[in-house]
């Protein structure tokens, strides 16, 4: 695609080139931040609905089952209009409150990130001329592993925080914080040890090995076929020679024999 842009009528102009790079960059940034923006929107909705940052929302058991208790004036809220909700109430889960809400948010965020990152990588592969298939597969593989580990850490933290504190927003906040820290730490490790680059070069090596293996097998097969063809030709020549000799002897014997033939 870079080549197509370059070969377009105005493709050589610096402004066209820089705009094209900006569009690609913006798509990458969008894919990177969409899941977090989604979490931020949920948090903003939650804070907006509860009325303030310090609004009290905690967990209390009724009949052995945990419930979210919301303090303040329910009449002023638009979504969570009650004072007591079951921890698995769809409204509570959609607002990211409690363990179920936080775990759901973490899972959805993780899946969305994998989906958007994969879409972006494929888009980048199609549009960037220098990108290789090994590069795409290697980057996608490490992306999925890193997002998977970060999502797993977030889910484990949500479950753990729900078990140690009664602050209802604790699990969803922990998901966001642990997600950010683990994402950064995993990428730093990747950069430090060049893990993605190693995976890509490993895939390249495997590709080269596979090519040379196929080439060698091809050569062996050609040699074997040639040997078989040689044998067949040799056999045919030998057979023809034997038949010819036998025929000549028979004919000589027939025409040059001193004994009269009986008809």
């Amino acid at each position: 695609m870079d080549a197509i842009i370059r070969s377009s009528p105005n493709g050589q102009r610096q402004s066209v080139q820089s705009n094209w790079q900006k569009i690609k960059g913006k798509i990458g940034t969008g894919a990177s931040y969409y899941a977090s923006a989604d979490d931020a929107v949920t948090m903003a909705k939650l804070v907006g609905d509860l009325g303030s940052f310090g609004a009290k929302a905690y967990i209390k058991s009724y009949g052995g089952k945990p419930h979210i208790i919301l303090k303040g004036h329910p009449g002023l809220r638009r979504i969570l209009t009650g004072t007591k909700y079951s921890i698995k109430n769809p409204k509570v889960v959609s607002m990211g409150l409690g363990k179920a809400g936080a775990v759901t948010a973490a899972k959805q965020g993780g899946m969305l990130t994998v989906f958007l990152l994969s879409a972006y990588r494929i888009f980048d592969f199609v549009l960037t001329d220098e990108e290789t298939l090994s590069g795409l597969i290697g980057t996608l593989a490490t992306d999925i592993v890193k997002v998977g580990v970060a999502t797993g850490a977030s889910i484990a933290t949500a479950t753990f925080v729900a078990g140690i504190t009664t602050i209802a927003v604790g699990p969803i906040l922990a998901v966001v914080f642990v997600g950010v820290i683990s994402t950064y730490a995993l990428d730093s490790l990747d950069q430090q040890y060049g893990l993605t680059d190693r995976v890509i070069s490993g895939l390249d090596e495997m590709g080269d090995n596979a090519s040379s293996f196929i080439e060698q097998k091809n050569r062996e097969l050609t040699n074997a076929a040639a040997e078989v063809a040689d044998s067949i030709i040799d056999y045919a020549i030998d057979s023809a020679r034997s038949i010819a000799i036998e025929w000549v002897i028979t004919q000589l014997d027939r025409y040059l024999s001193p004994y009269p033939r009986i008809r």
Binding site: F53, A55, A162, G163, L173, F177, I181, T183, D187, S188
Partner: protein
Amino acid sequence: MSQHEKQISKPMLYAGLGALIIMTMIGISYFTYAVFTLGKDLSNHSDNISFNKGAFYLLGASIGLASIVFAGIYESGLGHTLSKALGSTITKVALAGLIIMLVLPHVTHYFVSSAVESDGYSICDAASHQWLYSKTIVFTRNEEACRLLTAVQ
């Protein structure tokens, strides 16, 4: 009397709290290191200045996580009941951490960008890197410095 959603065993509690404390420390350490490196590069007017924007997300995240860890230690570790005032303060600190996390990197980016670009630096795309939040922007004095940096990498 408020209760947790699920009671967890003591060894699990200590292991989990330990892991969260380590994560908080990692966040603070990365942030401190990034600020130190940026300050050093800016004051030395280095040929290339590396702005680790990703590390600036970690300050807010660490503050927020620290407040949650504090609530966990207070309620489950020490066995106290969280008072309304303390609960509200912890929630406010955690949300302040969230706001710092969302705002600080972009504000810092704006100021660093303005300062270095007015000093004649430009972004070296080839040496810069981004993966989700983890973003490092490298500014170089000229094209040559950028080329050298990329060649070294």
